[in-house]
Point group: C2
Chain length 298, copies 2
């Protein structure tokens, strides 16, 4: 049985680590703050003091951290995974970070005989809890095959997209579409209300046609109840769109629509709505138009 | 049995008129050019010389025309429907036009005791042929009830969205979302290719998650075969987005994302791609990025 390490026990990471433990894998954990570590230890995990120590004791190390610099530091920095120098170790990053950083990490680890798999996920906190995440993987097919039993403990589907960084490219592509749908949903709901038409009727009229999408299937019913909490937080949507835009600039890809959507989520954060669900971006449109989708003019 | 009139035998109108005829309704037709009229007459319809004459002889008159001024002219202009002065006549507009124009037409017809239903459709030429359109209706509930047997001959679902113009508002809302998805699909496919990742693998990785939509379900498989023909023509998508934007300006609704999407389809037309499918908007992104989604750098 593979020995597993998990570094980064946030909302997503802790749920995923629990599912790995539940599947019967011996688990070492490390986290910046201690509360989550203690919870995992009470469930049977073993605490490790540094990322390097996690790597010293395991066969597969997962990381799940907020942003690119965090993953770079934990993997390549002092007392980082790379210092364990364990040829054959597989390092799986579940964070959503810049594809270029994933590629750099993979190249550095390979120099020491270690394999990197970038494996960002989609499906939110609910998917993480239930072990039903969609996993988009980049890196060596052979290394991916070896860790499949572990991935199947945290996710429902694993798609091997390509070499190092390809999983991050797929996740960024995913966020281009998700942001577009959330912004369009916000615009069309306010458009309906300000045009004097019931937004709920409009959703009923369009939901089964060419506009059909997961966003329309799931979000309006919550918005019409006045529920705007997460789900997927707006400031994380903004972070992911920044990855999209910075990567697009590196590769000279003009993405004017994604840039406008990023502006929407930047505005959300400025308006103090950063902790709300990404579908609450409708609030930015409401504010600009002086309207409330639930009751008309404000 | 209701006597039906159909004015405007374009791609959509002709298919819809045929389905009305097939359902057994006596049908009078009128069209600017003669070929489509002759075809309909050969199938059992009766030709009328003017919109007024159609209205003189029928109980329900449908219109299906390119744009707002065309509908206004045929309905309210010289030799138009309004001149028939037939109280109780129901005038159903299947065109996609500005909600404000639908409201004006409804108000003018009502002065003569006639009822207007704006009933734009979604589902494309295939839906029109197969009688499976989604119909978004605005106007009197009573009038709508009377024409239901006729609408069910051309569509699969009818949603009564609200009073006059509400159907057009729903259709415009629909186009806000459809345009957003098509532009995002174009941006993410080029993003993947330019980032060195196979766009087909990216679609496979994201299609079942939060990005799921009809556009991703149906369009990429055609684009990956090099097929960019319509479907729904780009210049019609642009026309519909202009309705969105003009209406939004009237009601003081800032829609920055819809405006960027309109720019995309405007650029398509400028590049000579106006007759292609709306999903071929990916060509604008390819051109700007110097890439081809099928084979990488151009």
């Amino acid at each position: 049985m593979l020995n597993i390490g998990y570094i980064g026990l946030g909302i997503m990471g802790k749920s995923m680590a629990k599912n790995i433990l539940r599947a019967g894998f011996p688990l070492w954990v490390h986290n910046r703050s201690n509360a989550a570590v203690e919870e995992m230890v009470s469930l049977g995990a073993i605490a490790a003091r540094t990322p390097r120590e996690v790597a010293d004791l395991t066969d597969v190390v997962f990381t799940n951290l907020p942003d690119s610099p965090d993953v770079e530091k934990v993997t390549l920095g002092p007392q980082g995974i790379i210092e364990a120098s364990r040829p054959g170790l597989i390092v799986v990053d579940n964070s959503t970070i810049k594809p270029g950083v994933s590629r750099k990490i993979a190249a550095e680890l390979l120099k020491k005989g270690m394999f990197a798999i970038d494996a960002p996920v989609s499906g939110g906190d609910v998917g993480a809890k239930n072990g039903t995440l969609a996993i988009m993987a980049g890196g060596s097919a052979e290394a991916l095959q070896k860790i499949m039993p572990v991935l199947m403990a945290v996710g429902k589907t694993v798609t091997h997209v390509g070499g190092p960084g390809a999983g991050q490219v797929a996740k960024a592509a995913n966020q281009i579409m998700v942001a577009a749908q959330m912004a369009a949903l916000g615009e069309l709901l306010v458009f309906a209300r300000k045009s004097g038409v019931d937004p709920e009727k409009v959703i009923a009229a369009i939901k089964s046609g060419a506009a059909q999408c997961w966003a329309i299937d799931t979000k309006p019913q919550r918005l019409f109840k006045g529920e705007r909490g997460p789900g997927f937080k707006a400031y994380m949507q903004l972070k992911d769109l920044r990855i999209v835009i910075e990567t697009a600039r590196e590769y000279h890809i003009p993405l004017p629509a994604a840039e406008v959507h990023a502006d929407y989520f930047k505005r959300m954060v400025e308006l103090g709505m950063g902790e709300l669900d990404n579908s609450a971006v409708v609030g930015v449109v409401e504010k600009a138009a002086g309207a409330d989708i639930l009751k008309g003019e404000t």
